[in-house]
Amino acid sequence: MSPPGVRVPAVAADGLRRTFRRDTGEIVVALDGVTLRAEAGSLTALVGPDGAGKTTFLRLVAGLMAPDAGTMTVLGIDVAREPQRIQDRIGYMPQRFGLYEDLTVQENLDLYADLHGVSAADKRRQYPRLMEMTALGPFTGRLSGNLSGGMKQKLGLACALVREPELLLLDEPTAGVDPLSRQELWQIILHLVAEQRTTVMVSTAYLDEAERCGRAVVLHQGKILTQGAPDEIARLADGKVFLADPPAGQTARGLQAHLLGAQAIVDAVPEGGRVRFIRDGAADARVDALAQVAVAPAQPRFEDGFMTLLRRAGDSRPASVVTLDKPPERQGDGVVVEVRDLVRMFGNFAAVDHVSFEVRRGELFGLLGPNGAGKTTTFRMLCGLLPVTGGTLRVAGVDLRRARASARQRIGYLAQRFSLYGDLSVVENLEFFASAYGLRGGRKRARIDWALRQFELGDLARLPSRHLPGGYKQRLAMAAALLHEPALLFLDEPTSGADPLARREFWQRINALTEQGVTAIVTTHFMEEAEYCDRVAILDAGRILAQGTPAEVRAHARRQEGREATMEDAFIAIVEEARAHGHPEAGAA
């Protein structure tokens, strides 16, 4: 709270510059001349692609590092001079909040309260309020390691709030959190700003979250592209945003892929069975892909303004079309993956509870669900990494757990976390996985060249893979999974934690692969990404609650005022209904 009478901005940064030196010796400019103000009691979003400098900025605000140049004043105090005085008055929640997983919820809270010297009286006053806000009350005795991802984030937030900070810094608090928990976290944040007059600064990869903030700051390569109210930024795309209905015989993602290939299109994403796209500059430029298509203008959103800005800043549109040397034959559309009444128990707990679905050749199938819904467990069973407790599964005609090792030649697997060898260079990783899949000699060289070219990894080939920037790690993992040209791909939350650009790039690649006959199964908790899939299944607590085409699943949503129902609306409606009825029989679409 600022001293009475004087309006001191909560955060005032002037000409901030901060650089880092990589292990390889090169200098990376994380922030370059950043100047911004955040008024007391405001809610500011920091958005931008990976490596834009969001985390560095928050750490500078928190006084965890000093700028190379420029000044940072927080709550009227020069951070570089008195970092401790700042840290006593703010709350900071880093991307990976340091919860002690072997302590209970209550013990974690006590620990943070004691670390910050919160008095017993304040604790008595604060705890019930925090518990009510986070709905963690019933779980105070549970080990925090056993909480779901969303609950962990809420506990982290509660720990950061335990001494009532005047300024709260949140670094991607909703990364890897499912839509329901995300909604709950945002309710807490909005409540803090509205009721407690806390100043909040939040970085996020979800652009719809930025729309909820009073101000948004768009960072790109360490510089501020623009800052202002989200609807002002949205207006940058005024008159350029349209919705296109795909003509008969074409899918929304097919049309989207065509549009992305066109010169005059800034961005295109599937949305509710249609394609939302942004035209560049002059609206009369001819776009071949739109010749036969009904097009209607649409209200621009923050995301549209953001994409327009990034394109203008010269971030080249990802030309991420992967061409396979030897696409799998597309004959027929037989069932490639068949799952019947699949059950997996961990003790008494059913992680996967009678799940059934089928995936046909060339299909892109999405498994959607909150953290702990059983998506990863299902995947691990499909890939033969985990034995099934009950039911049957067939992948490319066999059960991979029992089949000969050579059957695994037909699948590619992209794990949830980056899981290649961090000490080895890009090219050493590729060489190892090529050999693992039996590629040798000229064929091996050709495939590695293909991977380096297709995924634009050539310049980074000698860099140890753990030093790769986030988006490039993703590319390398995908390149490694595609070296042997599998007919079937398993992708476990491939876009979790990825920025909006990297996510578009990823889907473009997957799209191109399925166009060439590859079958893919994807898990995600970005609901709008379900629109990229041919069919989706919604999982919660180990059960499939709905499955069908995106349009069929979307039909479950409650009516929304003033806009079409999104996949996220449908998801929340389906899960809430199922939870309210204590999981009735899965309502198949």
Binding site: D423, A436, G438
Partner: protein
């Protein structure tokens, strides 16, 4: 060769290459593989010795005759025994020992010279500081040796008949060499066991923790191929370390190598397979690197203690003696000593070779099974 076998060998080769690359690429891990074994062998060579080279002693000479002077001259002539006091009275003995002025007191009775001259047995009494029983025992051993030598020489020098006994002496008077000779060949196995077990225990656990093990399991790698691909690099590094230690033993400590290099390496290779087997098994049951580290520490200590390195196996309680039978280090120490110091051939070593083969077979198969069946 059939095509599947060729494919399998290529995969194993790729894994071996990857494992070696991961270890040797990093400067810090190269350092930690090469420098500590050399330091350890130097420390063991110099510090881990049971020999005494300074024994402060006191004398209560009640004889004061020619024979007693001659005997005491033998002590003073060793360079190890340093006379710190001449006592006049038996009552002074207690104090001399109590305040650690002397480690031993030698009391020569008043009839010593007379008895010897008459060819009768003569008594020398030895009082040692028993608070450090080990040192006291060694010092007593030295005293006994000197007295034995004196016994053998006295008759000869004084025209009396008696068996000339002089052979056991030299080794006793080269005691520094004695322990080092015994110690260094034994330590080869101990040092390389710690390294290879640690390395192999970390290897699978690290991949599990980083999620790369799943990635490995969805490729066409079979569990046995993974096992071989992980065991071979660890063995290779173990043999490299053994070579360094052997070079230090011969070039620095100048301990002559009696046997065949081939025999020794055959024995060491078999031992390393067994050690890597234990390491990989521990690794296969651990979910994280931290767990693997704790497990391997729990395993290594008893292996080192029950190996016969520091305490003779024959002195252990019977139950522990049986336990040593499943300890590969026990056999490695015997083999290294016998090949290095005695020059024993492979035929003589078979009783110590086959148990290691069995240990390796059991642990490696168990690890291979666990690769796929552990539910992470």
């Amino acid at each position: 060769m059939s095509q599947p076998l060729v494919d399998s060998l290529w995969r194993i080769l790729a894994l071996v290459q990857k494992e070696l690359l991961a270890v040797l690429k990093d400067r810090k891990s190269r350092f930690s593989l090469m420098v500590p074994p050399i330091l350890q062998i130097l420390i063991f060579g110099y510090a881990a010795t049971y020999d005494l080279n300074y024994v402060p002693y006191a004398v209560l000479d009640q004889d004061r005759g020619a024979a007693s002077r001659e005997l005491l001259a033998q002590f003073d002539g060793t360079g190890i025994f340093q006379r710190v006091a001449n006592l006049d009275n038996a009552s002074e003995i207690g104090k001399t020992i109590d305040d650690q002025t002397a480690l031993v007191v030698i009391q020569i009775g008043q009839d010593f010279s007379r008895n010897l001259a008459l060819g009768r047995p003569a008594d020398v009494q030895l009082i040692a500081d028993g608070r450090n029983s080990n040192t006291a025992a060694i010092a007593s051993g030295y005293v006994a040796t000197i007295v034995d030598a004196f016994n053998a020489q006295w008759p000869a020098n004084h025209g009396q008949t008696g068996p000339p006994v002089a052979t056991a002496m030299r080794a006793w008077f080269n005691p520094e060499l004695e322990t080092r000779w015994h110690m260094i060949p034994s330590i080869i196995g101990t040092i390389v066991m710690m390294m290879t077990m640690n390395l192999s225990a970390m290897s699978v656990a690290r991949e599990r923790e980083n999620g790369t093990f799943d990635q490995l399991l969805v490729t066409p790698f079979r569990p046995a191929e993974i096992m071989i691909g992980k065991a071979v690099p660890a063995m290779f590094l173990g043999l490299t370390q053994s070579t360094m230690i052997l070079l230090v033993a011969q070039l620095w400590f100048r301990i002559p190598f009696q046997g065949s290099v081939l025999t020794l390496y055959a024995g060491l290779a078999l031992f390393l397979i067994a050690a890597v087997g234990v390491g990989l098994f521990v690794s296969s049951i651990a979910a994280t690197m931290q767990q693997a580290m704790i497990y391997i520490f729990v395993v290594i200590m008893p292996f080192a203690l029950l190996s016969g390195l520091t305490t003779p196996i024959d002195n252990m309680p019977l139950a522990f003696q049986y336990l040593t039978l499943i300890n590969p280090l026990r056999y490695a120490i015997i083999i290294a000593q016998r090949v290095y110091l005695e020059g024993a051939g492979i035929g003589l070593l078979i009783p110590d070779l086959w148990p290691m083969a069995i240990i390796a077979a059991v642990t490696l198969s168990a690890a291979t099974w666990m690769f796929r069946h552990k539910v992470a």
